[in-house]
Symmetry: D2
Subunit: 364 residues, 4 copies
């Protein structure tokens, strides 16, 4: 157990269920001296909040962050930052058959087997609301990283078969369409596809891409705590993620070495690369180029179509999930991927500070 903690020096612990009183996070190890307000956190939470477009659940949650510790006179103190978000929409529902059915594609069955028990009220700890803690913590990490010149650009690369090619990226579009795609035209096409999904009582998956600029070379620990390994574990821990790539990813498996190797060259005092197939990571350590990662998100498992399943009493049955459900969770997961990337990068930046004896000598 104890799987709700992430990070070594910058360490977060998330908690909370979808239908309990609140969800939240404790951030431990945040360096002292960072200007931080609830507004900084709120901006990130708003990006994953439901009810923002016709493709996201209508559940009305203000998702208001309250900081309960670790900030004094507007700055972080070095001690744990506790952030709580109250669940507003807790009214009692009639869960009906859902209470006893294992929904396909959900964690109902696996939680029941593991814990001898499950919270049938909307997924409990396996609900998407679990990510609120991650995003709140990610907001703090991202703010700190920005002060070090490290920035994140995350977006929806594809929804179903509609994929924005790299050469058509328009980063200014990302915040202009409800799907957070880096091209409004593609976003429109994806919207049409999603309308189709809704009509068919079906859902769609997609791919999220995250580019990280400004990470200095040298970040990541050898062997098991490599930068790419840490990012992969972090991103795969997000609910619906089924695949992770760094740089060229699976395409590299088909490439020749002469295509995939990035040539080095020297220019104006800096070592640079002609290409970035590596996605900014060599031997598990950042190489100074932008870090590029992608996450494959499966289609929302809650669909209106009839589905074959079993009850917890072991009877075969047909399940129909009623009510509105998001036909896609990709857009809301964009900020979650960004958050996990920020948490990972910051932790590894802090760990790297003691890599050399001369750094200790300079510091002490």
């Amino acid at each position: 157990m104890a799987g709700s903690t992430y990070g070594t020096l910058f360490r977060i612990t998330t908690w909370g269920e979808s239908h309990g009183p609140a969800v939240g996070v404790v951030i431990d190890g945040c360096p002292a001296g960072l200007a931080l307000s609830e507004q900084d956190v709120q901006k990130y939470l708003d990006r994953r909040r439901p009810g923002q477009s016709r493709f996201t659940t209508k559940r009305k949650e203000g998702d208001t962050a309250e900081i309960l510790s670790g900030v004094f006179e507007g700055k972080t103190t070095g001690t744990p930052i506790s952030i709580v978000v109250r669940n507003e929409d807790q009214r009692s529902h009639d869960y009906g058959r859902l209470k006893n059915c294992y929904r396909p594609g959900h964690a109902d069955y696996t939680f029941d087997v593991k814990y001898g028990f499950r919270d049938f009220r909307g997924g409990g700890r396996s609900s998407g609301r679990e990510t609120i803690g991650r995003v709140a913590a990610g907001a703090v990490a991202a703010k700190l990283l920005k002060e070090l010149g490290i920035t994140f650009t995350a977006y929806t690369k594809s929804i179903g078969a509609i994929c924005v090619p790299q050469q058509e990226y328009q980063f200014k579009d990302i915040m202009e369409n409800a799907l957070y795609m880096p091209n409004n035209t593609y976003a429109e096409r994806a919207s049409e596809y999603l309308d189709c999904c809704i009509k068919n009582q079906d859902s769609s998956g997609g791919v999220i891409e995250c580019m990280i600029d400004g990470v200095p070379a040298g970040i990541g620990e050898t062997v098991f705590q490599k930068l790419d390994a840490s990012l992969a574990g972090a991103v795969m821990s997000i609910g619906a993620v089924k695949g992770v790539e760094i740089g060229d990813g699976f395409a590299a498996a088909k490439a020749a070495g002469s295509e995939n190797n990035d040539a080095f060259f020297y220019e104006e005092g800096h070592i640079c690369k002609r290409t970035n197939h590596s996605g900014g990571v060599l031997g598990g350590i950042s190489d100074g180029s932008p870090i590029i990662l992608r996450a494959a998100i499966k289609p929302t498992p809650s669909i209106g179509k009839e589905q074959e399943t079993v009850t917890d009493a072991g009877e075969n049955t047909i399940l129909v999930i009623t009510g509105r459900h998001d036909p896609v969770i990709v857009p809301r997961a964009v900020v979650v991927v960004e958050a996990m990337a920020a948490l990972t990068i910051l932790d590894l930046l802090m760990i790297n500070m003691s890599a050399r004896l001369e750094s200790l000598r300079d510091f002490y």
Copy 2:
């Protein structure tokens, strides 16, 4: 730092460079009572040993495992198992220009930036020899898991564009061809492609797949220590891996929910699934189906072709790596993927034992 340790309860620490006196691993937390001999470890090491086919390096290493602790009268004692493999091929080379050049696609540059220093003798800690410790430990984990009915089938799914489709898998072929492909005909085609690569002084990547049978439902911790997240981090930590998938992986991102959901049904006292798009993991917890994971391996970065690069003095130069190099590392990495999967599964199995109060009551 301290990135060379993996696992919580079943925990390994690997050490050693390619050209130092030895490489090895300490396995801590192995349950007492497992019959274990050096031969058990050797069988796994032999699968990653060089010199087995015309596609692997000619470096002659017996790679003989010596167990220095933790086994008494043929059984594990519950205390750390230290395994050492001496490096036999340490003769002094003339590294020539390699000594001062950053090889494209290698970790030379990133190690130098991080540590202010690099071991120019063949990659040091970033060498493929680092995986010997993983494989030795994986052999122990796999042996223990076999006693619990959990087995692994790992193989080369594709090399370059030559990919064995699932419906043509012949698992008995895996050990019959030097590429560990589950179909000898495809293996032959891949061999021809690799001969081509050699002729072109180039190299190829590929995809490794691993199926894990017999894992009971309920394994994996919620949120950050999910089964799939743990596997992804573990597998991405292997040197040349650039992507990881669970179940349908990136294909799920293109699928509809109605296609991707696995229907449950009840049969002979068991809850089963009609399909296994999930790859055996739901909500980060095993669902009782076979676990399926894939790793994308980049092409070997050491190629004979001329490459543009820089020296550690900051001069642009052209690098030609002479000597023979593996045109592909995929076949030798198969057992490494299997080892990382075994280490992950065993650790999570042990952690899961205290998930319920009633388990503690039964135990104590």
Copy 3:
């Protein structure tokens, strides 16, 4: 950093400052199925609450526990339990000179050096209120351990020079006197001594003892995670503790081996010991006897007497701390020692479940 998390499988993360909005704890890894209510937690919190006798601060804090997650239909779910206690007494004070003075015996100076900053409002994170999270979590651990037959008896062994000898222990007295001493007569004498301290504007230290019954033999991991090492680290982490002993402790250093060894004998199917100098731990592993530990608590550093000190501007000055302060913190720390012991024992009990292959075989 990241020092606010304790435990491996049963893992807690505490947060909160004395004068922030709240303090709390997240308990991760609590086994599913434990009946738990806020009342269970409240009973423990009440034992450390201020305002209970003339020797404890008058600060009025209800210290009411609110459980925000991890409990469903009255039982733990296996997911994180978040417990929050609002700080009621946050009104703005005139901290006057305290704001700029480093109080002797306090952490004002060390926090300032470390973080470049300190929370001058009553100690911030180094305040005794930090222990609320420990005690709330300890209440959960102790309740679970009780179901396994493991119980704790903690009490004030001595205050200043007034020490209750073992042969005069009356455990029923513990809850009858405000000092939690196991003998009301000694408690009265100690009270007189404390009145004297108050009159002298001075304070007193003391010793807390904790006996743990029912721990089965075999608990504790070898080498660094020994039962006694874990208890020592846990108990020494409580604010004012300056020494820890297991069994005979420092007295063992003066004893002869023939006195200190505990003879084994066999009786009615059990291996027993004639004496318990070891305090229930041999080789870092529980031996089935009661576990006995002691903690030395330093005198409250806040005293009314004039004290020489410096300001944060580096000026020598004389400090007079006005207002009422506890002349002793020992009685309020008794439940904190018990809590840390419970957290440690439970974590090690859970870890021990995978010590043998046959246990895994039985479980799976």
Copy 4:
């Protein structure tokens, strides 16, 4: 399990049994650039080696350290340092009754209960030889710390009732007498007492003290990873330690606050303390004064006298341990205490580097 690893950033993993082929340690996270040779390690190992005086076992062990990785061209590389010490004295003994008896004061019984098994050849993992790994790693940590101006002075403060008072410390004497006491006259008295113990087939305990100079203020993490808590856990993890004190320790429990508080004053640009009752730690963070810790060591449990015990078959019996045994282990444990202190201090120094945002800003 997995109790053989210590530390967060500077992390060691020890392994090996007394009668296996070897013992050793892997040091992970050692900063790159430290000049290190086997001789640096040997100097420390020689201080705990047997056979140095008439009070230590005659077992002949050269205890020669071999470094197998992590050092290149005489300097640490930042990757794991593996150190192995072969056990020379492994000849087969006739263990006779020891094989089936649980020796009082030893871990025979507790290992057997825990693992269903024990290594009857001299204690296995619970043997004093386990500390070789700690000492080898401590040698590396101490060498690095010396470069930062941090030095250790460890010695035998008392043996049985013979205790060197602080005012009679002669630090130059420590290396002049076989007992490592800081006063040769007291050492002579203690030797006479030990001769007496030998004659009586009995043994003695004692107290070790360690002073650490040069630790800057600000080291130690709040709450659970405090400097004193970390030291206490580290030192209590040494085999025979039954008590740990920081600064005045248990004496503080009897003192008044006005006596125990250390007054601050300002002199020549530095904040100093008039006294050092705190032992250099306030609120779990170093205060810039020397750190002082003491460990109580129990008498050697192996004594020649007849002892009552049980066999592993559950029969009451009388045990007589034949052969020569150390009448005291205190002198040999001095360097072990020093090693554990060095490992702890270095790890916390490294962790502290990211306590402030401005440190990250300066570094990156």
